[in-house]
């Protein structure tokens, strides 16, 4: 009976025995889909006729019942093509073209006589591919629990990889660059048993976005897009066969996803380009996300800000108001407690920052440590850790906001949650109300430490659901969100552009925690930044931290010009000048670049790039004819040509160049720079020296009469 049924159905349903192929609009990238003998979905990819992804299986293993991994039949294939240009609320370019060919294969699986359906949708772009699983509304599959997703990415060779370890709770690693076959050996340096907050899951597990380079000079990048109500994907490498496979973040009981059809997975993406600059140009992740769902976006704005922050990060000051070892927010009486005397977020100090930030044209000033609860916020798995509404006694929230507003800037709110998600959600509405009351329009949120509810992870479905909830609730209050320690972004800022930033990688703070490898900033744009902007917090001008925080021997592994370049090379609509006023005051000529540089753009051009080595980017400031150029190198000094051919032809520009001095060096002489000013046209080119850990920056504007005495730019 069953056999007859199946045969009859198959005759009706199967539309294709041969492989299904879909190509990118330019025809260079092609994907072949098939079902193997076990009925398992398999895809492979070619670029310009050459394999870039070997046959790779697709499927999802369920916690109970028959898994969605094999026994499939192809019911039908539908195809579509799409070409649209959309305008981001903020971004690297004024408009973004979203152009792909789509193929969706509708698969059927017999589950003890009951038919179940799964669609795999492929979108082929000129620079890459996205695929996702879709479970349409159907009779025999509604609620299901994912034990593991088994999406493979079979590599064609022992590629070079730019990777950090797969981890359920932190992304704040230095990158390792090595061959795929070397990952297992290199993993040891990340397995520090003293670091209890890491949850590395496999000796060959890595995070996305994973940048790869083939020996043929093809740049591959594996990531995901639009991760909504799903846990974050890492990749586990079968290093015998060089096959990556998806590895989802589990929840407290080990499950990896609670699904209800109709539903879909995030997009799994493979970028394929033959030039590193194209990798940085790619809008693959943004394009695979849904259009903006916020109707009125007029309140969302790019922001350049300073912060009462670096002095606490370095240990000069304190977030906490007292030296108490534990505080109960229900009963604490700060009036009866002794202040520790180093609380940075005090009225006087905050005013000092307001004065400086407003004088130099910043939009906002972040103040961390403004609220009560910092005495025991970390390391205690404390549930009710902050209330998000009560200032410390020395922070006059009303007066300081008034003072800032009178000076033309806003304060930026800070919500450290300490990973206590329920507590944050309980106080969220009141916290956002408080912000509205005092005129805050942006919040930096933080998720330091293990997640509460205990057993959940930073990148699981539970926490991912929370992060998006916080963003949506903030939008109702017209609040922009910059979430730190949240999961790595997957382009959701297209849909919710009030998500103006994330940390979700190793940021500048690590320069105060022992330092970061100089190549870091040459890799981030290929990896972490693919999913959305990072609040990297550049702009450090004093590289020897012990100069102002004597107990901290950490050095910032960067030259001052490298720090300037980051405002251009690390795209973000939210850029911080992270250092303290007193450190900027020693280099006001260099600080001028930070004052001048834009944070929103009409156009961006990557002039040169190689992951782990260097990046040079030029960007045209929004609504102007001004350009800014930044260049960074890794731990090697190098000289790179910069042609000004991105400028309008037949027009003269004035360029100010901020360059490492010849004797600059991130280790020995990091703050040595030379500023040069001159004129250029689109026909000109210069050679720019970058010291070890160095870089350069340029600000460019069309020449006016006032510049007529200026000579041609000459870089010595």
């Amino acid at each position: 009976m069953r056999k007859i049924f199946l045969t009859a159905f198959a005759a009706f349903a199967v539309t294709a025995a041969a492989s299904e192929v879909v190509k990118s609009p330019d025809g260079n990238l092609s994907l072949t889909f098939d079902l193997n003998e076990q009925g398992t979905p398999v895809y492979s990819m070619e670029y310009k006729g050459k394999a870039v992804v070997n046959p790779s299986k697709l499927g999802v293993e369920l916690k109970t019942g028959k898994s969605l991994t094999d026994g499939f039949r192809l019911l039908r294939t539908t195809r579509d093509t799409f070409d649209e240009t959309w305008t981001p609320v903020w971004g690297e370019t004024k408009t973004i073209r979203n152009n792909y060919n789509e193929m969706a294969v509708r698969l059927a699986q017999d589950d003890n006589g009951k038919e179940r359906y799964m669609i795999i949708r492929f979108r082929m772009y000129n620079d890459g591919m996205g695929l996702r699983y879709e479970w349409p509304k159907q009779e025999n599959l509604t609620y299901f629990v994912i034990k593991e997703e088994h999406t493979q990415f079979a590599m064609t060779g022992d590629h070079k990889a730019y990777w950090i370890p797969g981890d359920y709770d932190t992304q704040e690693y230095d990158y390792c660059v090595c061959r795929l076959s070397e990952i297992r050996d290199e993993m040891h340096k990340y397995l520090n048993p003293e670091n209890a907050s890491t949850t590395v899951f496999s000796p060959t597990g890595v995070q996305t976005a994973l940048q790869l380079k083939t020996d043929d000079g093809i740049y591959l990048n594996i990531h995901e897009a639009a991760c909504v109500n799903y846990s974050t994907m890492s990749l586990n490498l079968d290093d015998k066969n060089l096959v990556f496979e998806s590895w989802l973040t589990p929840d407290a009981v080990g499950d990896k996803g609670y699904m209800m059809a109709p539903c879909k997975s995030p997009w799994r993406t493979v970028m394929v380009v033959d030039n590193a600059c194209k990798a940085l140009d790619s809008k693959l992740i943004l394009n695979l996300n849904e259009p903006c769902k916020i109707e009125d976006t007029s309140w969302i704005h790019p922001t350049k800000y300073m912060g009462v922050w670096w002095e606490m990060i370095t240990g000069k000051g304190s977030w906490a108001y007292t030296n108490a070892t534990a505080v109960n927010l229900d009963s604490i009486n700060y009036a009866a407690m002794k202040p520790n005397g180093i609380h940075s977020a005090n009225n006087e100090n905050v005013k000092r920052y307001i004065d400086f930030a407003s004088k130099h044209g910043f939009d906002e000033l972040l103040v961390e440590g403004w609220n009560i609860g910092w005495e025991d916020w970390i390391g205690n798995m404390k549930d009710y850790v902050f209330d998000f509404v009560t200032p410390n006694p020395d922070f006059d929230i009303e007066a300081l906001n008034k003072y800032a507003h009178e000076k033309g800037i806003k304060l930026m709110m800070h919500h450290e949650t300490s990973g206590s998600l329920r507590n944050y959600e309980r106080h969220m509405e009141a916290a956002y109300d408080l912000m509205n009351k005092y005129g805050y329009d942006a919040v930096k949120s933080g998720y330091v430490g293990p997640i509460i509810p205990r057993g959940e992870h930073h990148y699981g479905q539970w926490a991912n659901n929370h992060y998006l909830y916080a963003i949506k609730q903030a939008a109702k209050h017209k609040i922009m969100v910059n979430a730190h320690e949240a999961t790595r972004p997957t382009g959701l800022c297209r849909t919710y552009p009030n998500l103006v930033g994330n940390e979700s990688a190793r940021g500048t703070e690590y320069q105060a925690f022992g330092g970061t490898l100089p190549h870091h900033v040459t890799i981030l744009p290929f990896t972490r930044l693919q999913g959305g902007p990072m609040d990297y917090t550049p702009g450090i001008f004093c590289m020897d931290i012990s100069k102002f925080a004597p107990n901290n021997t950490s050095k910032v592994n960067s030259t001052l010009c490298n720090q300037l370049a980051l405002y251009v090379t690390l795209y973000s609509p939210l850029q911080m000048a992270a250092d303290m006023p007193e450190n900027y005051e020693r280099y006001m000529d260099a600080f001028q670049f930070i004052k001048d540089v834009a944070v929103d753009w009409d156009d961006s051009k990557y002039l040169a790039a190689e992951p782990g080595e260097y990046i040079i980017a030029a960007r045209k400031a929004k609504g102007t004819d001004n350009w800014f150029v930044g260049g960074v190198t890794n731990g090697d000094a190098r000289t790179m040509p910069v042609a000004f051919d991105f400028l309008d032809k037949d027009r003269k520009y004035v360029v100010t160049v901020y360059a490492d001095a010849k004797d600059a060096d991130y280790e020995t002489n990091p703050e040595k720079y030379v500023i040069t000013k001159g004129t250029v046209t689109s026909k000109d080119a210069v050679k720019m020296y970058m010291a070890r850990g160095g870089g350069f920056a340029m600000s460019i504007y069309p020449a006016t009469d006032a510049d007529k005495g200026l000579k041609k730019l000459k870089i010595k």
Copy 2:
């Protein structure tokens, strides 16, 4: 060095080598505290000179570091006495006397040269003892994680126990009555592998409140009071030595408590009385709770209510509006869906109930199924399962509330959470706002199904924290809470009297799910009701459910008069008439008792009681001279004397008696009753017959001129 240190400290600190004794105010109950050779705290109890609790260890095992179980020294003992009479917002009596002698032992423990402190506080009442652990603010112990609490209750013999299995997620069991040594054998009937929702943790694990009876006729009861920010305690029996030990509910990762000093455990209580009526009189649990923390309690009121409920529970009607198998609340369009035609919470049906309930003087009408989401609310671990604010299309929330208010009653809100705690908390404020908007002042909440976050349990610290959060937030909105499937109460209704009821035991609904043992209602007041009132939902008048719900063959194991008696024997400020108007309309003379009976009292007298066999209670209605009497029996018929000596002397009363007919029987003839009216004085007595599963009820009021023709009560 360390030895010297310890010796010096000991000489300074130890104040007592001998045992410490504390007695109840009447001197009958005494407790002896000591430290054994390992420095482990040990207590024992005597009643009238005879051991009732053998030497039992105390202590708390920690997840990391040295446990708080041994190595203690006694630093000092402080004593206090307390005698106060307080007035409950609602209750069984007008005032409650809180009279105890207290002894607190301050213990010190050396943890590698660092001293840690723990206080064990004992309170001795005439009817029992409470002890708790307290961790004062101290240098060397602030944050700690409890692996297990090891509070022992060593029994002096193989007592009779009235117990249900220890379980992390349900309390809705029929009771077992057996010797302690028989529990292991009897447990098998609860271990049903088909019931996935049970999480029985041990073959000798039982829940509190645990009623025990010694062969000497002493009634012991082990429970807890004031369980706040702590997980619920069960008891595990070492059945070789007859020692119970605390067994806390774990969280998702197996931990049992996250603590931050200063903090304390709930009270662990042992009631000791020589008469079953005294056990029911006891206010031990309420007295061990903190006084009321709600300043204005004027909005809290006892409530008699009906509900659109029994027709769904029995299967006659439906909570859901459609027969869809899954709904997505974000996208559902009910207008495009086909109604199932049996949705009970429809305008017409609700009006019918409003008409009936208002006509007969009820305060409120509960309506379940009013809101969207019931199609797939159970069994799917669905996170976003209800929004708590959107009515089904056939429930006009504005019009129905208006209609009810015009008729002098309120609607009662219903919030089923399906165990999805985060989802409820996210919508709670809006849900309570909606209630305020439409004039609801009470909510029945429910927690059916596994808890989300997954891995948490109904009785763990996480969920307990949630239940109290919901109560506190409700109080801000002047909303009374009646939480079902929440943890068993521990007297918190004294502190938060807007907690007007809980289910937290096997309620009347099980009479529609296959039936409940007749002895159930003779045990609940000894066990479940010790911690606070239960929304038992009595008042069923049609015991053969198939008469109106043909597919349901369940029978209500009770006579109609037993149902009437429950309004008196099961004290609650919230009493439901749970059956449907059409069933009441067939017995309007008996229904008169439900109309008449009070729900708040100035006095209560237990006239006769034996757990598992019978209870007879008399209560004096608040602010009146009216009394109501109820008697229930188990599966055995019996005749019991009732003396009216609780009435004022030298005064004539009119009594209406609702009694099982001679041929009544819960199985064969449950709805047969006889109503008799006559006069009585305090010198009179009658003999009341109770059928198998039966009972009787009486309403009594002072005779007036209108009653002068009435004859002396005579029960045939």
